[in-house]
Each structure stands twice: as structure tokens, then as C-alpha cells.
């Protein structure tokens, strides 16, 4: 199994940390992982994206042009990454702020209203965990228990009291993705 993922959105949405938690979850179940951020001028405001690869085998290139899954969280990223999903691949997006929904007919497209759901849960900071939950429902490449173990590894101990809330957000995401295409 090799899963090549791009996660793309605005800085501040938790794009990089979602990727980090996913990567740590892979380590927890003995997989190879890589996490390659776009950095530099882009880091100073604007879009943020990260390529995450989780694999049973040695990982070759950590930088890619095409992906098994694109997780897209703003319009700029939709414009840039919809076309990079491999045929038969998965596109998961949050419709909040999306003015031009995806048009591809050769990939699976799902939406997750993570911005709305996290606001309803009273904490927009767990937005990225709702998205991650939705993704893991669609592609269960890592087990939920290993995501929790990965979370414990990737956040400082003083925040470990927030883990139950993150778990709730993951569960919320798992229950709420909606298939757009093929409908």
C-alpha cells in the first residue's frame, strides 16, 4: 500500500499539522512516511500545502506532481490541485469558500462541511480533525487508535487534555462526508 496525498488550504487552517498527525499515525503502525511542506515565501500568508506519503515500502520521491488523494480547503487550492488527482483517485473538499466546485468525471469527489461542523461544535480549531476524520472514513489507511497515538506524539503534553475533543472531531468527520461524484 502506498497512498500519496496533497493537503492544501490557507495558512492557519491546520493543513501542516493535519499532515503531521497523519504521518505520525503511519509511524504508529510501522509504516514509512514522508511530510513535505511548501515553504518559503508561501509560508508568509496565503496558501499552505503539504505532501504526505504513507507506505508499506520505502518511499521514493517526497515531491510529486500527481496524487491518489487531494484534500482541498480553499478555492486557490482547488484551482491548483483538482487537476493533479490521479484518474480513479479521491478529491475531498470543504465547500466553505468554494466558488467553483470540482468538475472532474474520472475521480471520486466527496465534500465535508468541516468549517460548519466545527463551528457548531463550538471550536473552529478542530476543523482540521473533522477533515481528517472524513478522509480516514473514505480511505482507512491508518486506524483511529493510531491517529490518537499519533496525536499524543505530535502535540505537547500540556495539550493532551484536548485529545478527547479531537477524537470527537474525527468521529464527527467520519460520519459526515457526502459523495458528490459519482452521486
Amino acid at each position: 500500500m502506498t497512498e500519496e496525498i496533497i493537503i492544501a488550504g490557507f495558512g492557519g487552517q491546520g493543513v501542516l499539522s493535519m499532515g503531521k498527525i497523519l504521518a505520525y499515525s503511519g509511524i504508529m503502525q510501522d509504516q514509512e512516511v514522508s511530510w513535505m511542506p511548501s515553504y518559503g515565501p508561501e509560508m508568509r500568508g496565503g496558501t499552505a500545502n503539504v505532501t504526505v506519503i504513507v507506505s508499506d515500502d520505502r518511499i521514493s520521491s517526497p515531491v510529486l506532481n500527481f496524487y491518489d488523494t487531494a484534500i482541498i480547503l480553499n478555492q486557490q487550492s482547488m484551482d491548483k490541485f483538482e487537476k493533479t488527482v490521479k484518474p480513479g483517485g479521491l478529491l475531498l473538499f470543504d465547500p466553505n469558500g468554494i466558488t467553483h466546485p470540482p468538475q472532474r468525471k474520472d475521480i471520486k469527489i466527496f465534500k465535508i462541511e468541516a468549517a460548519r461542523l466545527s463551528a457548531e461544535m463550538g471550536n473552529t480549531k478542530i476543523f482540521n480533525m473533522v477533515v481528517l476524520g472524513a478522509y480516514l472514513k473514505l480511505k482507512p489507511i491508518v486506524k483511529l487508535e493510531n491517529v490518537i497515538r499519533g496525536l499524543k506524539k505530535s502535540i505537547p503534553e500540556r495539550y493532551h487534555k484536548l485529545i478527547p475533543m479531537n477524537e470527537e472531531a474525527l468521529t464527527m468527520g467520519m460520519a459526515n462526508s457526502v459523495e458528490i461524484f459519482p452521486a
Binding site: 503531521k20 504521518a23 505520525y24 503511519g26 509511524i27 514509512e32 512516511v33 514522508s34 511530510w35 513535505m36 511542506p37 515553504y39 518559503g40 518511499i59 521514493s60 520521491s61 517526497p62 515531491v63 510529486l64 506532481n65 500527481f66 506524539k153 505530535s154
Partner: protein
Amino acid sequence: MGELKLMKGNEAIAEAAIRAGVDAYFGYPITPQSEVIEYLMAEQPENRTGMVVLQAESELAAINMVYGAAAAGKKVFTSSSSPGISLYQEGISYIAGAELPCVIANVVRGGPGLGTIQPSQADYFQSTKGGGHGDYRLYVLAPSSVQEMADFIQLGFDIAYKYRNPVMIQSDGMIGQMMEKVELADQRPRWTDEEIKQMHDSWAAFGKGDHRERNIITSLDLDSSKQEKHNHHLQAKYRKMEENEVLFEEINCEDADYLIVAYGSSARISMKSVDLARAKGIKVGLFRPITLYPFPMKQLNAYVGKVKAILSVEMSAGQLIEDVKLAVECNIPVKHFGRYGGMIHSPEEVLTALENLIKGE
């Protein structure tokens, strides 16, 4: 099995330095390498092992602190990125001339000049052919994963002390900034003063006692005949390194009609290109030099008569290709491909370059 962590290459090399029992780190921040000194400052290894971490006032100061501490027999590590490494060059030449062990990491960014903060491999000449003056060589390791960033610290110090020679770890902004799984080695204790005296009494300057004459650390000898003799000694040392310390990796090379030669991050990208090419029925293998100096000359020359052409892939305008051509002595056609100035080639771009090479374009 050691501790498993998800770390950036820059963090892994810093943690590995603490665990290798390094006595001191001297450096000056520069992107895309700053996480090394940031990690060390946050980790405060003086509380773990007594290791000194000092931000110098400039790169010139940092490399001369390395020179001084290494002269005293202490295990010293420093890191910087391309423009900073250029500022190190005078000191590196002195350290090589004075035959002092140390490990220097260059997290390469695009140049020339201040260039860009994005990854590049355009410091190959500087690392392997002598960025400073005089006939000297560095032992140059090119990590292509976060694991190797960590592992090459201990390996680097082993070589540095075995040959009393500075070691360069040449990575780049990609290996430095990406995170991967890394298995960390157990903590090694720092050498005690007594151990340093026992091991390095013949050359280090830590106070002589009554049993011997003073050790003098210098790269200066105005008597040219003596300087030539010293150079003969250095050259003999480099020949020994060439004979004994070459490292490389071969992937899918057994039945290959074509080879890609690439190191560091370009090797990682090219691994994917090899998979893409193999899926199209092209028999191509990847030859990855792990030591850039000494370069695996003989090992690459063994492909003469076996492969039809070689693609040398590097994020530069073509530096590695010169050693590839020397290795195969013009018996195999060699072409260069690479993006540069901070651009990273994609696996597909490398594949296209390979297909063009095969078509004879």
C-alpha cells in the same frame, strides 16, 4: 530498536549531534538550515550532556570557533547554508591544512550570491573540489533521507577522527525541511578530558604536561620543502579515503540498459522516475553516490559495456556530471538534467529527460 520519531532533517541532524556526544556546536542562523540551531537552543543540551551551543556573531566567528575547539581535541559540529558555507571557506581550508576533525553540514539553497531560500544542489563543486584554497579534500556525505541526516553525524565523526579531516554533510533545503520517520541512536557519553588525553595526545593542544613537547596546531610552514612534504602526507591520506571509504547504493541496476546517477534529494526523486520508467518497460537503474568525495569512480566504471547511456540528475546546471564522466572515461554517453535556482524537478520531468536521452535527443 532506537526511539522512533517524526522529524525534519534539520531537527534530526541536531538531535543526532547531541546523541553522538558532541562537545560543541557553533553556528549562525540562515534559511533553510535555521532549525538546526533553533532545535539545539530549545533542547538545551548543556542540561543533557554538557554540550555547548553557541550562536556566534558571524559565520567567520563560527568556523574559527570550530577550528579552536577541534584543535583542543573536542568533538565539534557546525551547520549553515550555501552563502554561509562560502563564508566558512577560509576556515575550512585552515582546518583541512591543520588536519583537524570536525563535521560541517551544508543545507544547500539556490545560488549564486544570496540566491534563494529554496533547495538546490549547486554546491557540489564547492564541497568536492575545494571551496577554499589549496590542495585539500573534504570527506563529503550526501544524505537522501531524514534517517541518513541523523546517521551521517556519527559516521561523519568516525571518519573525521580516523583521518583527522573535516567532514562535510551536503544536504539541501528539501532533506532539511521535510519530515520522515527516523530511528535515533542511543545517547553516547561525551569524551572525558582523560579520554581526550589518551586518544589525541599526539596532536591535540590541551596542555602538554611533562612527558612530551608541545603540540602545535598550524597550517603555516614557510619552508616550502616541508610544506610539500605535508602536502604529500595529505594526498596519501586522501588516496586512503578513496581506497577505503567510498559509499554508494544501486537500485534496480542488475538488468539496466540505462542508468540515472543522482545523490541526495535528486536520488529520491529519481527513484520514482525509475519506477515510472520501469512501468513503461524501460530498463533503468539508479546509481546513488553516498560519498560525493571520494566519488565511487571504480564502482560506476564497472557499468562500461553494460549500459547504453547515463543521465546525471542534479538540482544544478551540471556539476555532478563532471565526476560521472571522469568515472566512465567517456566510454558511456552521459547527459545532465536538472532544474536549478531553487526549482525542484518532478519525477515526470526526469522521466522525460531519460526518454529524450534514449531517443538520442
